[in-house]
C-alpha cells in the first residue's frame, strides 16, 4: 500500500460525497400538497401541466413554435377567467428530440414538479419512450403531437389529437384513385413509422396495379437522386410523397433537374407552402440556381385538418390570429402556431368538461366520452375504445403560395376496408368569447 493510492481513494470518496450533496441541493420539496386539491398539480388557483418539446436540436425549427403558441392560448384563457377560476400553468421542457432526454424530463415533470397531466408531448420516438411509464403511473397523457396511430388503443391514459397518418393516407389515396384513374402512381416516403403508416393508408385505397414504384429515403441522407431517377424511370405520372418539408423540396428540385414534371400529392406534414417555398429557394441557391418558391409549389395537392391560414372568414383563424397578436406576436402566424393554439383550445375544452374539481381520472373520462368538434375541420373519434383523435381532412391545392380547399371534408377510419366518405356536418364557429 502506498499513500498516493490512499489520496486517490480518498478523493474518490470525497467526490462521491460531493455528488450526493450536489444531487441533494437541487432537490425541491415534492411531497403531496396539503391543500384540498382534487388531484396532484391542481390547486385552488392553478392547473399545472407539463410537456416535452424539441426546443433545441434538429427538430426544433418550426416545431419549437408549437408549445409557446399553446401557452399563448392558455394565457388568453387565464386573462379571461381561467378554467373554473384556475389558471393554467404550462411547463414545457426541452428534450432535443432525444428519447433518453424525454424519459428524463417527463420523470422530472411527474415526480418532481407533480404535474396534473402531460400535454401535447411532441414526437413519435420521443413520446414512445414515456408512454408506458405515464400509463403505469396513471398520469393523463393528452393530445400527443404525433400522427402515429399507436395512441389510439392500448394506452388508457393516452390520447392522440391530430389526424393520424393512416387516415390521411387513405384520404389522399381515395383522391388519387378518383382523379387519376388509370394513371401510373409512384410513392416517395420517409422510411419510418410516419412514411410507412402513410403508405399503408395509401395502399388501402390505390389499386396496387396502378402503383409502379415505391422509393424511400432516410432523413439523414439528402442524396435522393437515385430514388427520384427510379421514380421517373418507372413512368409514374403521379407521385405521392410522405416526406417532411425539406425532402418535399428536395424531391421537387430533383425532378426539376431531370426535366420531369409529374403531379405531386404531398402529406400535410410536408406541404406547408410558406415553409416549402423558403426551402426550395434556399436549396436551389446552394446549388447555384435561382427559383421562385411559390411557382414551384403551384399545383401540389395536399390535405389539411385545420382551417387554412389564409381563410380570414373562418372564425377560428380570426380567433387564433387575435390571440397570436396579443400573446405570441414574435412568432410568425404559420401552421405550427395554428397547431399549438388549436391543441391548446382542445385541452381547455377537455378541462372544462372534466368538471370543477377534476381528478386525473375525470380528465381521461371526459375525453373518452367524446369531445365536441372544435378548431379541426372534422370531428374527433374519442370513445372508451378509441383514443385516436381527428377523423378527417379536406383536400387542398397549393395556389400562389396558399392552400385552397377543394371539395368537402373527408372522414374515414384506420381499417383497410373502411370507406372514405364526405363529412356532412359543418364546422361549428369559434365561440365569441374565444373560450370553450
Amino acid at each position: 500500500m502506498n499513500r498516493s493510492h490512499r489520496t486517490r481513494t480518498l478523493a474518490v470518496a470525497a467526490v462521491v460525497v460531493g455528488a450526493l450533496v450536489a444531487a441533494g441541493c437541487g432537490s425541491s420539496s415534492t411531497g403531496g400538497s396539503t391543500s384540498a386539491a382534487s388531484a396532484p398539480g391542481i390547486t385552488k388557483s392553478q392547473i399545472l401541466i407539463g410537456s416535452h418539446q424539441p426546443l433545441t436540436g434538429p427538430a426544433a425549427p418550426g416545431y419549437s413554435e408549437i408549445a409557446p403558441a399553446a401557452n399563448a392560448y392558455f394565457q388568453y384563457v387565464n386573462a379571461h377567467g381561467g378554467v373554473y377560476g384556475r389558471k393554467i400553468k404550462y411547463t414545457y421542457l426541452d428534450d432535443g428530440y432525444d428519447p433518453s432526454k424525454t424519459a428524463s424530463v417527463v420523470r422530472q415533470l411527474v415526480l418532481q414538479d407533480n404535474v396534473y397531466a402531460i400535454f401535447n408531448g411532441l414526437g413519435t420516438p420521443t413520446h414512445l419512450a414515456v408512454v408506458k411509464y405515464l400509463n403505469s403511473a396513471k398520469i393523463p397523457d393528452v393530445f400527443v403531437a404525433s400522427g402515429c396511430d399507436c395512441w389510439a388503443t392500448g394506452y388508457p391514459q393516452t390520447f392522440g389529437w391530430q389526424l393520424d397518418y393512416i387516415r390521411e393516407g387513405k384520404i389522399l389515396g381515395a383522391y388519387v384513385k378518383q382523379h387519376f384513374a388509370g394513371k401510373k402512381v409512384g410513392f416517395f416516403y420517409q422510411n419510418d413509422e410516419f412514411g410507412l403508416d402513410g403508405v399503408k393508408g395509401l395502399s388501402y385505397e390505390i389499386p396496387s396495379s396502378q402503383v409502379v414504384s415505391k422509393q424511400s429515403y432516410v432523413p439523414t441522407n439528402v442524396n435522393i437522386g437515385p430514388a427520384v431517377a427510379a421514380l421517373k424511370a418507372s413512368g409514374a405520372q403521379v407521385v405521392v410523397s410522405y416526406s417532411i418539408p425539406a425532402f418535399t423540396a428536395l424531391l421537387k428540385l430533383a425532378a426539376l433537374k431531370l426535366g420531369w414534371n409529374p403531379t405531386f400529392v404531398v402529406s400535410s406534414v410536408g406541404s406547408d407552402p410558406i415553409t416549402l417555398a423558403g426551402l426550395l429557394e434556399a436549396f436551389a441557391k446552394k446549388g447555384g440556381a435561382t427559383v421562385q418558391g411559390n411557382q414551384l409549389t403551384q399545383g401540389i395537392i395536399t390535405n389539411g385538418y385545420l382551417p387554412t391560414l389564409g381563410d380570414m372568414s373562418n372564425s377560428w383563424i380570426a380567433l387564433f390570429e387575435k390571440v397570436h397578436n396579443t400573446y405570441d406576436a414574435k412568432a410568425p402566424f404559420d401552421g405550427n402556431v395554428l397547431y399549438g393554439m388549436a391543441v391548446g383550445y382542445t385541452f381547455v375544452q377537455a378541462m372544462v368538461k372534466a368538471g370543477k374539481n377534476p381528478t386525473r381520472a375525470d380528465l381521461t373520462k371526459a375525453i373518452s366520452s367524446g369531445l365536441p368538434q372544435g378548431p379541426a375541420v372534422a370531428p374527433y373519434d374519442y370513445s372508451a375504445t378509441d383514443h385516436g383523435g381527428m377523423m378527417g381532412a379536406f383536400i387542398g391545392v397549393i395556389k400562389n403560395g396558399a392552400i385552397v380547399q377543394q371539395g368537402p371534408v373527408w372522414t374515414t377510419d384506420t381499417t383497410p376496408t373502411g370507406a372514405v366518405t364526405a363529412f356532412s356536418g359543418t364546422q361549428p364557429p369559434a365561440p365569441s368569447s374565444g373560450m370553450p
Binding site: 498516493s4 493510492h5 450526493l20 444531487a23 432537490s27 424519459a103 420523470r107 413509422e193
Partner: protein, 366 residues
Amino acid sequence: MTMTLLRHLAVAIVAGALVWAASVQLNAFRDYQIAEIAVYVVAIAGLSVLIGLSGQISLGNGAFMAIGAYATALLVIHLNWPVWAVFPASAAITAVAGGVVGIAAARLSGPYLAGATLLLAVALPSLALQWPGVFGGDQGLSIVVTAPARLGATFPLTRWQAWVCSLAALITLVLLANLVRSRVGRNWRAIRDDPVAAALTGLNVGRLRVLAFVVSATCAGLAGAMLTFTTTLVSPGSFTLSLSIALLTGAVLGGLGTLAGAIWGALVIVLVPTYVTDVATSHGLSSGVAANIPIAAYGVVLIVVMLLFPNGIQGGVRRLAGPLLPANLTRLASPDRQQPASEQAEGLASPDRRRPVSEHQEEGTK
C-alpha cells in the same frame, strides 16, 4: 495487489452506503438522476481510461453504448434474462465489437482515429432503421422494468434503478481502478507517452491499444445496458453524435485519465442542464431564451473549467487540495515502479506534465 483491491473495495462499500442513504432521502426524480449519473460515470470512465491512459481518442463510444443498449433490450425481450445476467452479457457483446473496431483503430492515430470512430458514431445507430423488424426502427424497443416484489408494492421504481445502476457503476470503478494500477495500466501509460520507446522495451503496442479499446467499449456497452434499464427504452434517437461528444466533454471536464474525474464529468452532464433549466424557467425567461440557456451554461462551465483547471475538475481538486496533503503529491517514485517520479506522484495520469495526445503520437511516428 490484494491490498489495493481491498482498499478499493472498502471505498466502494462506503460510497455505496452513501448512495444508498441519498437514494432513500431524495425524491423519486433525484433517484432517477442518480441512475443517470451512474450511467454516465461508467461511460465516461471507460472513455477517460482510453484517452487518458492509452492515448487514443474515440468519438464512437456513443455507438458502443447503442450496442450495449440494444443487446440489453433484445436479451430482455426475447430471452427474458434477469438484469444481473443482462448487464455482463451486454458488456461482453460490446467488448467483441470494441475488439473488432480496436483492431482497425490501433493502426490509426490522432485525427485519423477520431475520424474513423466518428464514422462509427454516425453510421451505427442508423442500422436500427435498416432492420426495423429486429431493432424496432425509429420507435426502438421498450422493455418492462419492475422493482422486486419483496421491496413492497409502493417502492419507487426509480430508487431500484438508482440502486442497480449505482452498484454496477461502483463495481466498474473498482475493476477499472485495479486495472489502471496494474501492469496493463502502466503499459498503457508507456505506449501513450512514447510508443517507440515502449516497443523497444518489448511492449506490444498494437495489442495494448486494442485492449484499451476493448476495455473502453465494454464500459460503454455496460453504460448502454444501464441506460436501457433506466429509461426502459432504446431507440436510435438516443445515440446521436452529440452523445459521443458529450461523453468526451465529460471526460475532459472531469479530468482525463482519472476515475474521480469521470464522476465529476457525469455530475456536470446530468445536473447542470436540469439545474439551469429550473433556474431559467423560475425566473420567467421567454422560452426561446430559456431553452438555450442550458447549452450556454454548459459552454460557460466548459470554458471556466478549462481556463481555471486545464486538467479538468479533478485536476483542480488536486491542485486545491494539494497544500493540505503535502506528503502525497510530492512523493517520489516507489521501488516497484518503472515510471518517472512525476507520473507516479499524480496517481493515474500526470496531467501537469502531459502534452496533448496528438503531440505524443506525432513524436512517436517521427
